[in-house]
Structures are given as C-alpha cells and as structure tokens.
Point group: C2
DNA sequence: ACACTGTATTGACAACTTTCGATATGATGC
DNA sequence: GCATCATATCGAAAGTTGTCAATACAGTGT
C-alpha cells in the first residue's frame, strides 16, 4: 500500500496568525513575563523604578522591554510627576485567550 | 507631596518564567501558528509533506519549525513508512493555559 | 535659569532566528 | 545492491533581539 498520496493543504486564513505571533513574541521573554506577572499581582500601578530595582537589567533595557509590552498593548502607562507608572492593560488576558481560541478552535463536528 | 519613594521590588519567583518563555517563543512565529492551527483542526495526524505543500517555505525550513514545536512538546510525530505524521500534543492547550494562569494569577484578596 | 532625578531613545555589539541550498539519513521497491 | 522518495540535519547569509553605555528628554525644586 505504497501509492498513498499526501493529503492536500488546509486552506487556512493566511495573515490571521501574524497578529497573534506579535502577541506571543511579546510574551516570549522571561523578563517581560516577570514584569507582567508583577503587574498582574499588583494592587495598583507600578513605577518603572521598581522594575529597574527588581530586575537584573539596566535601566535602558527595562525601558526597552516596557516599550515592547506597550506596543503589544499588554500594558498602559501614565506619567505622574517625574515617575511613570505602568499597569496591566484591562484586556491583556482576554486578548491572549482570544488568540488561543482562534489557534485551537476545534473543527466543526458533523 | 514629592518625597514619595518608589515601592520595593516584588519578590517573585525567578526562573519560573524561563520555562513559560520557551513555550511562548515556540508560539511566536506565524508559520508555526499556522502549523498548530492546522493540526488542531485536523481529524487525525498530518503528513509533513502537507506542510511543505501548504506553507510558502522550503522543506528544510518546515522541518526546522516542526523541530521547534517538537522540542516545546507542543506536537508529537510518528514515522510510518517513508512519511512522518505530526499531531498536536494532547496537553498542548493545557500547558499554555497553565502558563497563563501562573502569569496572571490574581493576588490573594483579603 | 540651573542642577538634579527618573525615564526614553540612540547606537553599537553579541547572540539568536529564520531561511535556504546542499547533504545526510531512513524507508521502499526494484 | 542501487534508485527513489520523504524527512532531517548542516552550514551559511540575512534579519531580528537583548543588552548596555551614552545621551536626550521631561519634571521638580532651588
């Protein structure tokens, strides 16, 4: 039984996953995950200087990671005086969950 | 009210997120997401050649992405004759969900 | 205006990723 | 054995990312 041919490609939507990939890319670093987890557990916002204190990274590197999280809309920030306070975006968890639902959506059962 | 000092660093577990980051890194590419979505929607396993047919990538590149998914334990594979068939790992979705739960775990409400 | 503090940006470098062509491995059929 | 097909691995090129030192920017207090 050797002439079995390989099945045809699935006609999946093309660029749908480019957007999700951006999201997951933002999650694909331990330091950024630490920042997010800290924000998720915080009562209110957290000052940038807390992260520069708490992470084994220099200030510009922390700023870099915060920017990536901002651009992925996972966090928001607000300047108050000299300090900038970050908080988790309201829909952060939901947006990730939605990406996962799209990814793993079950085929329709007949 | 200016002498407000920045709060102390949260004593979060250190290496907990290194593992999660590996998972998310595996998800951080559109082609790998396409592969996973295809597997999630498939009734049974899918032959490698389907991916090489269906993706705008050469065979070695597809193989590379499949390896990354394998090493993240998101997929499993089985050789049958000349062909190798891939399927979604049973706990793929659960492992991701667990990583997210750890990430976003709410602080304990008093 | 100036000095000072906290944060962001720039520019550079090393490390890692994605991609491919070439080659190797593994299985089938003669 | 040899030819053939499917998949994996290797090695190199191009692109991206994480990091830091240096610098710029923004706000405060004098």
């Amino acid at each position: 039984m050797s002439m079995q041919r390989c099945c045809p490609p699935k006609g999946l939507p093309r660029e749908v996953f480019t957007e999700s990939a951006v999201l997951f890319k933002a999650l694909a670093d331990p330091h950024r995950l630490t920042i997010l987890a800290t924000l998720a557990r915080a009562d209110d916002e957290i000052c940038v200087c807390d992260f520069t204190d708490g992470l084994p990274l220099n200030q510009p590197t922390v700023s870099h990671h915060l920017r990536i999280l901002r651009e992925a809309d996972l966090v928001t920030c607000e300047r108050r005086g000299t300090w900038v306070y970050y908080r988790l975006a309201d829909d952060a968890r939901n947006r990730i969950d939605r990406a996962l639902t799209t990814l793993f959506k079950q085929k329709v059962k007949a």
